[in-house]
């Protein structure tokens, strides 16, 4: 037991090193003056040269703006659709078509991206031929595609959050005469709010990160940031991509830190409310 424990811990340290060394090296070399990227130019480094080049590169800035717009829109759409699916799967019991809905919400999680991308593009082309909509491909088609695969992730998050609560609160409100819509907005929604936040963040990240599906469904002239990065790095390393990566790592870690602080605060508040409710009603713990 003890010896396996030590071996496992050593492996854990190596594993974490393996996960973080590439990221750290990207951050370090983003301050390197040399165009060779990985050869450290100690005479002129550290420098912010690549950061200023980044901020004057209109191709990257345009792509970033498109990516943010698509990620925000598709994350909002995915949260709405994923919440509906998650609530139905966790609370509606065995309705007709449940098995099919389970299959449809898990399939996008495991479908290889090249297939999802190809099939969505073929759908958009067929729709344009048949109905004349969506005209051409660009932001709209990318957003629709991203909504479709990220809603599956939101469904899992919402469903597992709801599975953690029994239905007694909703049933109590129902018994007191609240209509289902009111029960949803007053009871269910506040309960699953943390899941909606993490689902939204997950959907945002998935969209912000996607290159394969976007490549299929984006028309000429609309390139998301990952598409621009991908075509740049296929030709080799480029120093401004290091600077971009550093900015993104910084942004993501701040975002995660803020979100997890908020989530743990929410959980603390909820536990306090439950304790207070239990104490005031003189009931055994909720």
């Amino acid at each position: 037991m003890r010896r396996t424990g030590v071996a496992a811990r050593v492996m854990l340290c190596f594993g974490l090193l393996f996960l973080y060394v590439p990221i750290v090296s990207m951050v370090v070399f983003s301050f390197n003056n040399s165009r060779l990227v990985t050869v450290w130019d100690s005479a002129h480094s550290p420098t912010l040269r690549w950061y200023s080049e980044l901020l004057s590169n209109s191709q990257i800035l345009d792509a970033a703006a498109l990516s943010i717009a698509v990620a925000v829109l598709s994350a909002c759409g995915a949260v709405v659709l994923g919440t509906l699916a998650g609530v139905a799967l966790a609370r509606f019991g065995g309705f007709r078509g449940r098995t099919l809905l389970v299959g449809l919400t898990t399939a996008p999680l495991v479908m290889p991206e090249v297939i999802t991308g190809l099939s969505l593009l073929l759908l958009f082309v067929a729709l344009e031929q048949a109905l004349g909509w969506p005209r051409g491909r660009g932001m709209l088609t990318i957003t629709l595609a991203h909504m479709t695969f990220s809603m599956a992730y939101v469904t899992v998050v919402v469903q597992s959050r709801l599975a953690g609560f029994d239905e007694s609160l909703e049933e109590a409100a129902m018994d007191l005469g609240a209509r289902p819509l009111k029960v949803f907005f007053r009871i269910t929604l506040p309960l699953i709010l943390p899941a909606l936040v993490s689902g939204w963040l997950l959907a945002f990240t998935l969209s912000w990160d996607d290159v394969v599906i976007s490549q299929f469904v984006a028309g000429p002239g609309s390139s998301t940031l990952p598409m621009v990065i991908f075509s740049k790095v296929r030709l080799g390393v480029s120093p401004d991509v290091n600077a971009l990566a550093t900015l993104m790592v910084l942004l993501v870690s701040t975002g995660i830190a803020v979100a997890s602080a908020w989530l743990s605060r929410q959980n603390r508040l909820r536990e306090r409310d439950i304790r207070m409710a239990a104490a005031t009603n003189n009931l055994p713990g909720a």
Binding site: A7, G15, L19, L84, F92, P112, S119, Q159, D209
Partner: protein, 297 residues
């Protein structure tokens, strides 16, 4: 949410996401299937219609695309290569990820949360950029070669990039969290008194691990392996950036058929071929995976 009065709402809630997924997931898949049976045309879109205008129901099924996939060795070889790469990567992920998950599950509550955070954090930063980072480490004048040369261990830079080695590193690096998380959520639930009982009865720690921990963690192993194996088979970005140029993985073949050759019917047939390869693992994942996935997120 019971009671017959609210049947309309009860249908609407599952109905909207259901319709969405049918329209944007199931129907597109049927279109791929349909186009895989059509002929390539120099037109926009570049495939022949399956239903002709006059006969209405006269369906032209062209099996030529599939016949082509099995006559040109390129496709079969890419399939086998993809399966091999995915299987070996999954095995490496398991060998590296199991001890990591085990160590996390055995640490104290505070350390456990920090460690889990450290595992998940890279998953939130851009996948593409993390794969890109390995180019800087592995290329001939990259970080690893520079360090080895300055230590005097090698005199010529090693060829690391665009090899199977780089490809395995990239896949293991990207998918390791998918292996660790289901394993962790399984190992964490084990009852430590079982191991204590085994020790009291005189079992060697390794025997206790082999006869108690390992069998109990099989569902976690299955979920983790499938979560790595399935996406690895169709992987496109990692082999394009790090992998060999003389042997393509099947996802890249699909994309090249589509973008380079503009042969939509063959690309669709390749998509169907990938799905056929993955149908067994996907069904298995539906069985074990949903429970394990639901537990961790």
């Amino acid at each position: 949410m019971r009671g017959g009065r609210f049947t309309f709402g009860r249908r609407l809630v599952p109905g909207i996401p259901f319709l969405w997924l049918v329209l944007l997931f199931a129907v597109p898949f049927l279109i791929v299937l349909k186009i895989s049976f059509s002929e390539v045309r120099l037109a926009i879109p570049p495939y022949s219609p399956l239903f002709d205008g006059h006969g209405g129901l006269a369906v032209h099924l062209h099996l030529s695309n599939y016949a082509f996939l099995f006559t040109d060795p390129l496709y079969v070889r890419s399939c086998l290569y993809s399966l091999q790469v995915a299987a070996i990567s999954t095995l490496i992920c398991l060998l590296v990820g199991y001890p990591m998950a085990y160590a996390i599950a055995r640490s104290g509550a505070t350390a456990r949360n920090v460690l889990l955070m450290l595992i998940v954090l890279p998953f939130w930063t851009s996948f593409l950029l993390r794969v890109y980072a390995w180019i800087g480490l592995l290329k001939s004048n990259g970080v690893i070669n520079n360090i080895l040369m300055s230590l005097g261990l090698i005199h010529q830079p090693l060829v690391l990039l665009q090899t199977d080695f780089a490809l395995y590193i990239g896949i293991v690096y990207s998918y390791l969290p998918f292996m660790i998380l289901p394993l962790y959520s399984n190992l964490e639930k084990h009852d430590p008194t079982l191991l204590e009982a085994a020790a009291d009865l005189g079992a060697h720690p390794f025997a206790a691990f082999r006869r108690i921990t390992l069998p109990l963690s099989l569902p976690g192993i299955a979920a983790g392996c499938l979560l790595v194996f399935i996406p690895a088979v169709g992987e496109y970005v990692i082999p394009s950036l790090l992998g060999r140029t003389d042997q393509l993985m099947i996802g890249r073949v699909l994309s090249d058929e589509f973008f380079e050759n503009r042969d939509w019917p063959v690309a669709s047939a390749v998509a169907i071929l990938i799905l056929v390869l993955l149908v067994v693992p996907i069904v298995l994942l539906q069985r074990v995976g949903r429970r394990e996935l639901g537990a961790q997120r």
